[in-house]
Every structure is written in structure tokens, then in C-alpha cells.
């Protein structure tokens, strides 16, 4: 283990956000702020039905189509598919559609107002086919809409012997838990600008997380060599996973219009289009059957996990994988069986969203733990403590917890800071005589940092630092900034390791023509994995300068640059690259689904204090405590901001955010009626970090960004259970759901006495 007291000058300091001043001055350039010479605008004609054959596309003669560029699947020079895990999603629908809002025709014109009118003059006629619109319809195979059986992916995770355990149980507790779709609602909608020239190929600028993902799709769609495709991330106004896969589609669309029109083409969605047409969080249905002994020890867990993947496979298999690997919670259980399936439906494909399957899985297990505690008449805290993983224990995948673990301490701190027991006692007394019922709820959980299993090995990430002839020290990564702090944290790491000032370092432009592929900016991997690469590359450069350019120990800034010029004179450039190396002992078996699921885990205990108004049926979170251990904290202000933001999204997931479906289309695709928390809805969020540096993460970091979305929903619903005595099993939990639950009980028990 790394010495946690290791002194650092810059890592761990609350330095201001690297690109902060540009953002605060209104100077930061987001894609819609950029104009190109001779630029046109693009728009998309989309499917109005969930599934069917395209009979005809007609262009109303009231429009002079000679002014427009029209693109269909027939204009695609290469393969008509978006490159993700399986290439099953067309770039443009060709003859059939599999979900509402699937793109069929693209239009471009120099005047965006004329474009809007023209879009209504394109008529698509269909021969509708039967559609499946829910997990149940898909698993019943009411119609086969994907592959041979509608099954996008399945996993079977087994440990011990579940079947023999039931007969030894004091109690068997069953429960079914459901989570809804959730919209990312980044405040900047998806948008790109594309250019094409026969000489240079395709260039795409855009609001996106993963420049090399977009690059990969463009190479195939245009059948171009890699060197003729360039993707540049522009300042990105929020992403949360929602700009992981979708920009590949949008980037190809704009580039097709650019190629055919001979002009740069900008496509920026408005809010309604972005909400209706782009990815969301996978809805889930998770069934738990759990055997416990009379003392609350978990004996067996059988988990049936199903997600709705939407019309194409996109990232559903890896989301399902992460859900599977988080489904048993931070507990020891000798016998486990998880059957996980992701089902195709005729809705917009679900995609990556902060937490990536874990929020669904954590909601189910952490709600279920409270239901088990109720059956045992046991304190839910005590039940958790009796089953917590400790150092040396093995998980459901037989991964041994080799790093020190402090779940008990996190629990202690969360209970202490929230004054949990005292408040429960007071609320229990007051609730009898009040129309406002208050309660406390807890969730304990982990989030695996970085790609699952062998993922990081396959990614084979490359990152670098260089010093330009102009004397700029740069971090070269494809890891992007979209609010979470990539620029700041990687700069801090480089400055620390190069023994320079924070202001001496800059980020190279996130441009595939300039930066190497350090992997996608996802999976809470940037600080831990890419940060480690930058730490190594920086230390390697210092070592080279010491060895080959007479740089002495405790160098000054001036010494450093003099030495760099010596190295440049000898080698022609000053560049230090590092490639990913797996930490020792990371072994993962994809077939058996066993081994080291993640190199490291972030751990957390969250507490929600909730009040339920039994007159208005509103539930409000009054106070929230988030205690976590995420390795070394690189920048306390940014890290706290990540936790607070994640908790707010998790609160919305629990109590506000409901996607309303009508025949496979999102009906409430406006901010007016898809409701996210405002400044008046968020309670005080108290954030605490315990720091256990992880020796293979950048300066001891583990993953942080996704963790805070996992815990709020179960903590809040557990608090509502504590307040009302009713265990709700689905989110979002809106006032009408609370009404239904409370009414159902009063019908059984008679009206509540106040």
C-alpha cells in the first residue's frame, strides 16, 4: 500500500478549474458557438412508428429541393452501421425502422429556418410491424424484433450451491424492484459540425466524450483510412454518459451531409429532439430471493436481473455486466446465482448513463436489505454490518478483497454525522401525531473503478506528456473534459510529477489528429487509470532528463526547460509516452465470469432524511449525508462537486424524473414536463471522504464520478419506508405513487389515526 502521508504539493490541493475562467467569462467555445465559413445546417427526418417497413419516402413539390442536400442510406460510401460492441445499429434506416425517432433522411440547407419548413414536407409511408415495448413483451417474444430471441445479452454468475441453501434458511425473503428510464438532461444538447474534403477526408467537431469512438464509426461509414478522419471535442456542456455513444451517430450524419453538400454542416439538436431521439438509462426489473439464518447472515442470493436495452445493442451488454457485478451489494454470501438478461424492445436504444447499470442493481439490493431486516425485525444497519465484505473476503466472482477496507468505519461516520439513531427515535415518536411523517434511510454500496474484467487490457490505453519547441508542457490524452474535472486533475498530476507549477502545464487539444488514444472518458477510469499513465509518463520524462540532459535533483522551473532543450537537441523532440500495464494479479475469466471484476472499488454509505406529507403526498429529502472512500482525493473542491452533483441526479432518479412512454415514443420530451431537481429541491448534502490511496491509481486515486449516483435512490426509499412503514419497490416514486401506496394501506388497515 502507498504511504498515505506521502507529501504532495499540487495533488490534493483545491486548485481552480483549469478552463474555469473561460467558462465564467462566457468565452468557452461550445459547438453551437462555432461558425465555419460557408456553413450549412442539417436536420433529421425520423421514424414516427416503433417498428415497420419503409414503403416510400416522398418529397412534397411545394419545396424547391434543388436548394437542399438530401441524404439517405443510399449515400453512405462505406458500411451503414455505427461501431460499438456489435455493429447492429444502422447509421440511417434502410428499408425498415426499429424504433420511433430512428433517422431515415437527412437534409441540409444554408438557412436553418427554411430547413425546418422543408422537414415537414418529407413524407414517409410505412407498413407497420408488431412492436415490443416492454421487458415482459420482449421476453414473451410477442414478436421477434432482434436476433433470434430478442435477447441482446445474458450472463450467468454462480458461486457455491444456491439450491442446497434454501432448506437451511431461517427465512427466505423475496422482492421485485423496478427502475425507470432516466434522461441525462445535460444542459447542452447533442451537437456537431462536420467538414469533408477529398484531400483531407472527414473532420468532426462536437460535444462528445469519446473522440476515438466517433472516429471508429466515421472510418467505417466513409470507408476511409484512419488518417483521413479527425475528431475534435469542443467544450462540452455536460454528458453523464449521454455523449458516450450517441455522437458517433450524429457525427456520421453531419459528415454525410457535409460530403454531399460540399459545405461544413452544423447539426445541433433542440431540446425536444435530444430528449426524444437520444439514449437514456436502461429501465430494469430485478428480482431477489434471499436465504438468511436467524442472525441475519446471508446464506444464498438468487437474483434475476432484466434490463430493457431498446432497439439496438449499443452498450447494453456492458451495462448488464456492471449491473450483474453490483447486484449482490457489498456483502459476503457463500451461495450466489445471478441470471442477467438484456432484452431488445422497439424503443430508442438505451445507453451509457453515470453508474452504467450499478444504480439499478444497487437500488434493488439496498431496498431488499431493508425488507430482509423487516422480516427479521432487525435494525437494517445491524443486518448490513453482519454481512459486510472485509479485507480477505471474496465477492460473488471469487475476487479476494486484497486492499484494506473500511466499510464499518464509513457506516460509523455516516451514522454519527447524520445523528441517525437519535433522529429515528424522535421521528418514530413524532410521526404518530403528525401528518408529516419523517424517516431515515441508509444505503451501503461500492462502485467498481475502471473497465470491467479484462476491459482495460483490451483498451491498451496510451497517454503522453510533451514539451513543445515553444516551451509548453502538455498533457496528451483523448480523455475529455465535460465538467467532471479531467483537465484540472490531469494537470495537477503532471505538475506534481514533473515538479513544475500547475500553471506551467496545459492540456493538448482533444483532437484525434494530435492526441493518442487514452481510451474513452467513461467508467470512472480517467483519474485512476489515465491519471496513472500521466504520472508515469511525467516521472519517466524527469528520469530521462536527469539521465540524459543533466537535470539535477530539486530542479527549478528554469533548469527543467534548459534540460528539455538539451534533450530536444539530442533527440529532436521531448515526448514521454506510457501505455497501460495491468496491476499484478488481475485475472478475469470472461467465460466463467469469475476473478477480479475490477482492479479497485470506491465504497460508500449514504444516509437520507426524508419527510412525507400525508396530505399532499409529496416526499422531500430534508438532509443528505454522503460518506465515501475513493482512494486519494486529487482536488477536494472538484471531488466534492462530483459527489454533490451525483447525489442530486440520484435524487431526481428517485423522486422526480419519469420518462412517459406513448407507443414507444417519449411523450414528455420537454423540460416543462420531464422534471429534474431545481435549486429549491436539493437538500443540504454533507460530503465526507475517507482516503485509502490505491497504489495502482494516479497518485493513489480510485474512481469517483459514478459512485454518487448509485446510493441516493435506495437511501431515500428506505427513509420513506422508515417514515411511512411502506416499502416502495419502484422508482421514480412520484406523489401519485405515494398516494396509491398509502391509500392501499388505509383500505386494508382503515384510515390512519393522527
Amino acid at each position: 500500500m502507498m504511504d498515505s502521508t506521502a507529501k504532495t504539493r499540487i495533488v490534493g490541493a483545491a486548485l481552480p478549474r483549469k478552463e474555469g475562467i473561460d467558462k465564467l467569462a462566457g468565452r468557452a467555445r461550445y459547438v453551437d458557438d462555432i461558425q465555419r465559413e460557408g456553413m450549412w445546417y442539417g436536420t433529421t427526418i425520423r421514424s414516427s412508428i416503433p417498428r415497420g417497413l419503409i414503403r416510400s419516402v416522398t418529397f412534397d413539390t411545394s419545396v424547391d429541393w434543388s436548394e437542399f442536400t438530401v441524404v439517405t442510406a443510399a449515400d453512405i460510401p462505406g458500411e451503414n452501421c455505427i461501431q460499438l460492441i456489435i455493429a447492429d445499429q444502422p447509421c440511417l434506416a434502410d428499408g425498415k425502422v426499429n424504433h420511433c425517432e430512428e433517422a431515415i433522411v437527412l437534409l441540409a440547407h444554408p438557412d436553418k429556418h427554411k430547413l425546418r419548413a422543408a422537414a415537414t414536407a418529407v413524407r414517409v409511408e410505412y407498413d407497420p410491424l408488431p412492436a415490443v415495448l416492454s421487458i415482459e413483451e420482449s421476453e414473451r417474444q410477442d414478436a421477434i424484433v432482434w436476433g433470434e430471441d430478442n435477447l441482446l445479452k445474458s450472463f450467468l454468475l454462480q458461486k457455491g450451491d444456491v439450491d442446497s441453501a434454501w432448506s437451511t434458511a431461517a427465512h427466505i425473503v423475496e422482492g421485485e424492484y423496478r427502475t425507470g428510464a432516466q434522461e441525462h438532461l445535460y444542459i447542452e444538447n447533442n451537437g456537431v459540425i462536420a467538414e469533408y474534403s477529398a484531400l483531407d477526408g472527414v473532420t468532426v467537431w462536437g460535444s462528445l466524450q469519446c473522440p476515438y469512438y466517433v472516429h471508429k464509426s466515421l472510418v467505417k461509414v466513409f470507408a476511409l483510412p484512419e488518417a483521413k478522419v479527425r475528431v475534435i471535442q469542443t467544450e462540452t456542456g455536460g454528458a453523464f454518459g449521454g455523449k458516450e455513444d450517441y455522437p458517433s451517430t450524429l457525427g456520421c450524419h453531419a459528415a454525410l451531409l457535409a460530403m454531399k453538400s460540399g459545405h461544413p454542416v452544423k447539426m445541433v439538436y433542440d431540446r425536444m429532439e435530444d430528449l426524444a431521439a437520444t439514449t437514456k438509462r436502461h429501465p430494469s426489473r430485478i428480482r431477489h430471493k434471499t436465504a438468511v439464518d436467524k442472525n441475519g447472515k446471508l446464506l444464498a442470493m438468487e437474483i434475476d436481473l432484466a434490463t430493457d436495452g431498446g432497439a439496438y445493442s449499443t452498450l447494453s451488454s456492458t451495462v448488464l455486466s456492471r449491473a450483474t457485478l453490483h447486484s449482490t451489494g457489498p456483502y459476503v454470501c457463500p451461495n450466489v446465482r445471478v441470471r442477467a438478461k438484456s432484452w431488445a424492445t422497439n424503443t430508442v436504444p438505451y445507453g451509457a448513463f453515470r453508474g452504467f447499470g450499478a444504480p439499478q442493481a444497487v437500488f434493488a439490493i439496498e431496498r431488499h436489505m431493508d425488507e430482509i431486516a423487516a422480516v427479521l425485525s432487525m435494525d437494517p444497519i445491524e443486518l448490513r454490518r453482519r454481512n459486510f465484505l472485509h479485507q480477505g473476503d471474496t465477492t460473488a466472482t471469487e475476487q479476494t478483497m486484497r486492499e484494506p477496507m473500511i466499510l464499518d468505519e464509513l457506516m460509523d461516520r455516516a451514522l454519527h454525522e447524520s445523528d441517525y439513531y437519535a433522529k429515528r427515535k424522535i421521528f418514530a415518536r413524532e410521526n404518530h401525531t403528525s401528518a408529516i411523517k419523517r424517516g431515515m434511510g441508509v444505503a451501503a454500496f461500492y462502485h467498481g473503478s475502471g473497465f470491467t474484467g479484462s476491459g482495460e487490457v483490451y483498451l491498451n490505453s496510451l497517454a503522453a506528456v510533451d514539451v513543445t519547441p515553444e516551451g509548453k508542457v502538455r498533457v496528451l490524452v483523448s480523455s475529455t473534459e465535460f465538467g467532471q474535472g479531467t483537465n484540472t486533475v490531469l494537470t495537477q498530476i503532471a505538475a506534481e510529477a514533473l515538479e513544475l507549477d500547475y500553471r506551467d502545464i496545459e492540456m493538448a487539444p482533444p483532437d484525434t489528429g494530435i492526441v493518442p488514444n487514452s481510451g474513452p472518458t467513461v467508467a470512472s477510469r480517467t483519474t485512476m487509470v489515465v491519471g496513472r499513465l500521466i504520472e508515469r509518463a511525467s516521472k519517466q520524462l524527469v528520469a530521462e532528463l536527469r539521465e540524459h540532459a543533466n537535470l539535477e535533483a530539486d530542479h527549478t522551473r528554469e533548469d527543467f526547460f534548459v534540460a528539455c532543450e538539451r534533450l530536444r537537441a539530442a533527440r529532436g523532440k521531448v515526448l514521454s509516452e506510457c501505455r497501460y500495464e495491468a496491476p499484478p494479479g488481475i485475472v478475469w475469466d470472461d467465460q466463467k465470469y469469475q476473478g477480479e471484476a475490477y482492479p479497485a472499488f470506491g465504497w460508500a454509505v449514504y444516509v437520507a432524511q426524508v419527510e412525507v406529507d400525508t396530505v399532499t403526498y409529496s416526499a422531500e429529502v430534508e438532509n443528505f449525508w454522503a460518506v465515501q472512500e475513493v482512494g486519494r482525493v486529487m482536488n477536494p473542491v472538484l471531488a466534492t462537486g462530483q459527489i454533490e452533483g451525483g447525489v442530486a441526479q440520484g435524487l431526481g432518479y428517485a423522486l422526480y424524473e419519469k420518462v412517459i412512454w406513448q407507443d414507444g415514443r417519449m411523450a414528455n420530451n420537454q423540460m416543462t414536463n420531464y422534471i429534474m431537481p431545481t435549486a429549491e429541491d436539493i437538500p443540504p448534502i454533507h460530503v465526507f471522504f475517507e482516503q485509502m490511496p490505491y497504489q495502482h491509481g494516479g497518485y493513489g486515486a480510485k474512481g469517483l464520478g459514478e459512485l454518487p449516483h448509485d446510493g441516493p435512490a435506495p437511501a431515500i426509499l428506505n427513509a420513506i419506508r422508515d417514515a411511512t412503514g411502506i416499502g416502495f419497490h419502484s422508482i421514480p416514486l412520484l406523489p401519485e405513487d405515494l398516494f396509491a401506496g398509502l391509500m392501499a394501506r388505509s383500505l386494508i388497515e382503515g384510515p390512519a389515526t393522527l
Binding site: 474555469g20 465564467l24 456542456g237 473542491v637 442530486a648 423540460m671 416543462t672 429534474m676
Partner: protein, 170 residues
């Protein structure tokens, strides 16, 4: 022949502006397209998110809901008008220090709503800050760092002075 477009006059960040444009064009688009002031952002186009907030005649408005004809003769302030002589406004400084901006897309609107609050109420309580910012959605921060930023700027007393100076300048 189409009729010539009408001309509108107003001041933006202390500078007199004149634009010839359709009268129903959104103030947001006039600022961004005709005046190249792209600091003001569009988030929803229906007055829900507040990203396009600007100050017009001393009121906070969603510029996506204001047709330019309503801005005739108005005094408008956008995020570009907050800093003076290359020096950040106290609110901008506080947002930088306290982590009030993450992705930055709601930030210009948040800053304008915060400036409006502090101008009217130099020492707001947390409850007043929450209320004043409740028309501006932020998806990144969970609002905590933004509240802290506004309270820090108010406590510094500098925000008040700067806003007063700006009013004098007009």
C-alpha cells in the same frame, strides 16, 4: 420585393447596438448570431432552464422568450459584461474558487441570476439564494457549490461595489 427588415436599438454591456432583424427573432439569437455574444446559452428554448438568462432593464429575463422588438431601447447585460477591464467580477471569482462551475453551460445564466440577486439584496440568506436561482437548472453541481459561491461573493462585499460602479457608469 419583401419589405426591409426593421432596425432595433438597445445597449448591451454599456455599448450602443443597432440591429436590422425580423421583429420576432429571439433576443437570444440576436445576441448570439447578430452580435456574436455567444456567452449566453440555449438549453431548452422554452424558458425552463434559465441558461439564456440576461438582465434587461434591471430584470432577469429568459432571452429565449423575448422577441427582439421588446428589447427596443433596453439596457441589457450579458455574461460578457460582468468582468471589467480584464478583472473578474466578484461572483466570477467566487465561482472559480468555490467550484460553482463544472461543465459551464448553465454558468452564464447562473451568474446573471446571481448578479440580479446581489444587486437587489446584497446580503442574501441561503433560502433567498435558493429561491433566486430556482429558475436556473444545473445538472452537474447539485447546486451546493453554486450557493457557496454566491454567498462567498456576497460576503466579500466586492460584488455589491462592482455592481454599484457599473450602474454609475451607465
Amino acid at each position: 420585393m419583401s419589405t426591409p427588415l426593421p432596425t432595433f436599438h438597445f445597449s448591451v454591456n454599456g455599448e450602443r447596438k443597432q440591429v436590422q432583424t425580423p421583429p420576432m427573432k429571439r433576443l437570444l439569437d440576436v445576441l448570439r448570431e447578430d452580435l456574436c455574444l455567444t456567452g449566453t446559452k440555449e438549453g431548452c428554448g422554452e424558458g425552463e432552464c434559465g441558461s439564456c438568462s440576461v438582465r434587461m432593464n434591471g430584470e432577469l429575463v429568459n432571452s429565449c422568450l423575448v422577441p427582439v422588438l421588446q428589447a427596443e431601447g433596453a439596457t441589457i447585460q450579458t455574461v460578457e459584461g460582468l468582468a471589467t477591464d480584464g478583472r473578474l467580477h466578484a461572483l466570477q471569482e467566487a465561482f472559480l474558487k468555490c467550484g460553482g462551475a463544472q461543465c459551464g453551460i448553465c454558468t452564464p445564466g447562473m451568474l446573471m441570476a446571481s448578479a440580479q440577486l446581489i444587486d437587489r439584496n446584497p446580503h442574501p440568506s441561503l433560502v433567498e439564494v435558493r429561491e433566486a436561482l430556482s429558475g436556473n437548472l444545473c445538472r452537474c453541481t447539485g447546486y451546493m457549490r453554486i450557493f457557496e459561491s454566491v454567498l462567498a461573493a456576497a460576503a466579500s462585499g466586492k460584488a455589491e461595489t462592482e455592481l454599484a460602479e457599473k450602474h454609475d457608469a451607465r
